[in-house]
């Protein structure tokens, strides 16, 4: 008897929505009614997730209820879900590099590259800031994470600090000064500790109450000194198996500059700090795993971005070396977010032809900018 679960059928792309700016970190709200993303334009962009009624339920003439013939030219794409843009949340500086939702309250935490940390509502025309720290870190906050019980949030940044805050009022709870730039932080499932990782792929498990590093994990394959550039490959840390397994994902860099390197996912056993497996899930053109999501069906969803034009969505089971699903239709994917319905998900990517040396040839003579298509997918029931 084979206990291995059957892989799901390939997801279907419902629609690609056009964000006007380059997005960095998209997430669905726990209620499923909003999609938010930090962006490179000093703002959190918001969309309302609108379920469209089936045509048969609408009061329309019968002719209008008929689906357009498949070969009809310019037939609009039908999607059961639409993302309706809302006014962005502004007041940030630099890049809004990271966001996270509170698991139960209507609260969004967002942090920017100048060190600002904000807790804000996310509904309505003009969301209100609940609390904020203008200088939570000295410069670039790379990640904000929320504990599963929603009581604490953790941040980390280029200033080498990991900081723990009270989610309700923003009061500082604990801090840890590390020796290097901290790229990522996340809570253990019970919220008693955080795990954080740095430029060199050094990962520490921090008991922030006792200020003690309890465990260290070696993900140094996610770092390379290329000439004088320390190429930092680590981008994601998450827990599986109720906290027994730590997942570290990013890039195994081959060199600096272009940053050629392969996306990789490392699995560590928390109990003994040992590396269980290292899954290299792409070629040297494929670059980084920028984001990971866990699907309760038992697989990781990875968004990758490498050389301009290269991007993949991959599904990988933790006990398998190779992804069981790979989608190469998108360019430079930077985040993947699973809707609470567990069926729909989005991938933020980059427009095609995003790169090029020298003056671009645009028809109107304007200097072009890039943007992030949002690809909405659905897993078959």
């Amino acid at each position: 008897m084979n206990d291995k679960p059957a892989n799901p059928p390939a997801p279907r792309e419902l629609k690609a929505f056009q964000a006007t700016r380059q997005l960095l970190s998209a997430r669905f709200s726990p209620c499923g009614q909003f999609l938010c993303s930090g962006a490179m334009d000093q703002a959190v962009h918001r969309w309302s997730v609108v379920e469209k009624k089936p045509a048969a339920e609408l009061e329309l003439p019968d002719a209008a209820k008929k689906p357009a013939p498949k070969n009809a030219k310019n037939a609009p794409k039908e999607s059961p879900v639409e993302l309706m843009p809302l006014a962005p949340i502004t007041g940030f500086n630099g890049w809004v590099s990271t966001i996270a939702f509170h698991p139960t309250d209507k609260l969004l935490f967002a942090a920017d590259s100048w060190g600002k940390l904000v807790a804000t509502s996310f509904e309505g025309e003009t969301p209100n800031a609940i609390w904020h720290h203008a200088a939570a870190h000295d410069g670039w906050i790379r990640r904000v994470a929320v504990s599963n019980d929603g009581k604490l949030i953790a941040t980390c940044g280029r200033d080498r600090f990991v900081r723990i805050w009270n989610a309700a009022d923003g009061k500082p709870v604990a801090k840890h000064e590390h020796s290097e730039d901290v790229f990522v932080v996340n809570f253990t499932p019970d919220g008693s500790r955080v795990v954080f990782g740095d430029t060199f792929g050094k990962i520490g498990l921090l008991d922030f109450k006792s200020a003690k590093i309890e465990r260290q994990f070696d993900a140094s394959t996610l770092h390379k000194l290329s000439r004088i550039q320390d190429v930092a490959g680590l981008r994601v840390l998450m827990f599986l198996d109720e906290g027994r397994t730590l997942v570290a994902a990013g890039c195994q860099p081959k060199d600096g500059g272009f940053v050629e390197g392969g996306p990789a996912v490392l699995f560590f056993n928390i109990a003994d700090d040992k590396l269980i497996r290292e899954s290299r899930i792409g070629s040297e053109k494929d670059g980084f795993v920028h984001d990971l999501a866990w699907h309760p069906g038992g697989w990781l969803m990875a968004a990758t971005s490498g050389q301009p034009g290269n991007g993949k969505l991959m599904f990988l089971r933790p006990d398998e070396k190779e992804p069981f699903y790979t989608n190469t239709s998108m360019a430079n994917c930077h985040s993947v977010a699973l809707h609470p319905d567990k069926r729909r998900f989005i991938v933020t990517a980059t427009n095609r032809n995003s790169s090029g040396n020298g003056r671009p040839n645009s028809k109107d003579g304007a200097y072009p900018s890039n943007n992030s298509p949002i690809h909405l997918f659905e897993l078959p029931a």
Partner: protein, 427 residues
């Protein structure tokens, strides 16, 4: 007993290249000359020097000298105040910000080439009009026009990661005599120094023999065919006497901490020693700046290392009073695109970028030129590399309108003949 003399095969590559540069000279003839040798002699007496820091691949102007915070292409970083009121640099350059009163930054560089292969040569040769010859790099031009200082040390030394040896290709039509003596990984060419088993007397005997043979060789040939040989020999002998200036084991720990214990820091510190010893032109290379991917994390790693080394040497040259006669230049072959590509990188951008300079003949604390609000293009008049060559020569006391190369009878301008110096940059 084994002979203390080294064997011919021990001279393979570096030393042969160095001492044997005359072979190349026979081909190219070391034919380049100056129309006015008297003027050149006058220049030599001034002992002006150049430090040229080359950031190969293209440093981003937006993450360094010309930040555009909170704009569409501005990137994630903040800006910081500098020692010049109203002037801001990227937060990645805190030390250079404190030296801004000594710097002269041009933010309106606009050049022609967006490829490395053509761009590096084109920029370092000054992109003159095409006259069917290969122009010399700036270092070779200075070596030719100004010659060695009274120290008699080589006129053009290149400190770089990787291989060393004699690099005649920089000299173009001037001939190999004016090429660069490269210190690969900061070390002198292999076998340049006298072998420890060879006494000074034995070495002197060898040189007397060499001189005799050279004399016989020269008697049967025109001087122009033998001068390169003699020149490189004499330069090498002077270097052999000064091993202290490039001995990396003797670099002071305190200075290493300031300059940085990485290639760029150590090589810049060696450059300081060389300038103090009297080398006319020192080029320091740093590679790996071609940040098409992950540009911002790359610059967060690279720029602070440059900042450490650059600010330290500017500070030291200033404190020693050497900025009066040392021209400092830090640049790349181009800048980087304002547009951020899907790999979170920036591509090649010659349209609007920055060069930082300091010292000899330049206006300190100056910021010249301006890009538009988004940093995409130069606002008013852009400055091509030819204008920078004019500026540098003027700063060194050389008038490019009156000084020409003599390429075997063909007079050639030392900088683009349709361009002029950036007057606002000159003291």
């Amino acid at each position: 007993m084994a002979s203390p003399l080294c064997k011919p095969w021990e001279h393979a590559l570096s030393r042969r290249q160095f001492f044997g540069a005359s072979a190349g000279a026979l081909a190219a003839g070391a034919l380049g000359g100056l129309v006015s040798p008297a003027a050149a002699e006058q220049l030599r007496s001034k002992e002006k020097q150049v430090l040229f820091i080359w950031l190969d691949g293209g440093m981003s102007q937006l993450e360094s000298w010309d930040p555009k915070p909170n704009t569409e292409f501005g990137g994630p970083f903040r800006t910081i105040k500098t020692s010049v009121p109203g002037t801001h640099f990227s937060e990645l350059m805190p030390r250079s910000a404190k030296q801004a009163h000594r710097l002269c930054v041009v933010r309106s560089i606009s050049t022609q080439d967006n490829s490395h292969s053509a761009g590096v040569g084109r920029i370092q040769r000054g992109d003159p009009k095409n006259r069917g010859v290969t122009y010399p790099f700036f270092g070779s031009s200075v070596a030719k026009i100004m010659g060695p200082t009274s120290s008699k040390l080589p006129a053009y030394v290149w400190v770089k990661p990787g291989s060393g040896g004699f690099k005649p290709e920089d000299a173009g039509f001037l001939g190999p005599k004016y090429g660069a003596l490269a210190f690969g990984d900061g070390k002198p060419p292999e076998n340049l120094l006298r072998h420890p088993s060879l006494t000074a007397e034995e070495d002197e005997e060898r040189n007397e023999l060499r001189a005799l043979l050279d004399k016989r060789y020269a008697e049967q040939r025109l001087p122009k065919y033998t001068e390169a040989n003699a020149y490189v020999y004499e330069s090498a002998r002077e270097l052999m006497k000064r091993s202290d200036i490039f001995d990396t084991t003797k670099l002071p720990a305190k200075d290493l901490d300031r300059y940085g214990r990485h290639d760029l820091g150590m090589h810049t510190l060696i450059a300081r020693n060389m300038l103090e010893a009297g080398v006319r032109f020192v080029k320091v290379n740093s590679y790996g700046w071609d940040t098409h991917g992950d540009n911002f994390n790359a610059h967060a790693s690279l720029v602070p290392k440059f900042d450490q080394a650059f600010a330290s040497i500017v500070e030291d040259l200033g404190a020693r009073g050497m900025l009066d006669h040392v021209l400092v230049i830090a640049m790349s072959e181009f800048g980087r695109t304002p547009r951020i590509n899907g790999h979170v990188g920036r591509d090649h951008w010659p349209e609007a970028w920055s060069v930082a300079m300091a010292g000899c003949g330049l206006k300190p604390g100056a910021v010249i030129g301006e890009t538009n609000d988004k940093g995409t293009f130069v606002k008013d008049k852009g400055h091509d590399i030819g204008a920078l060559f004019h500026t540098w020569f003027n700063a060194l006391g050389i008038d490019p309108k009156k000084t020409e190369f003599d390429n075997n009878g063909q007079p050639l301008p030392i900088a683009h003949d349709d361009m002029a110096p950036i007057r606002e940059a000159l003291a």
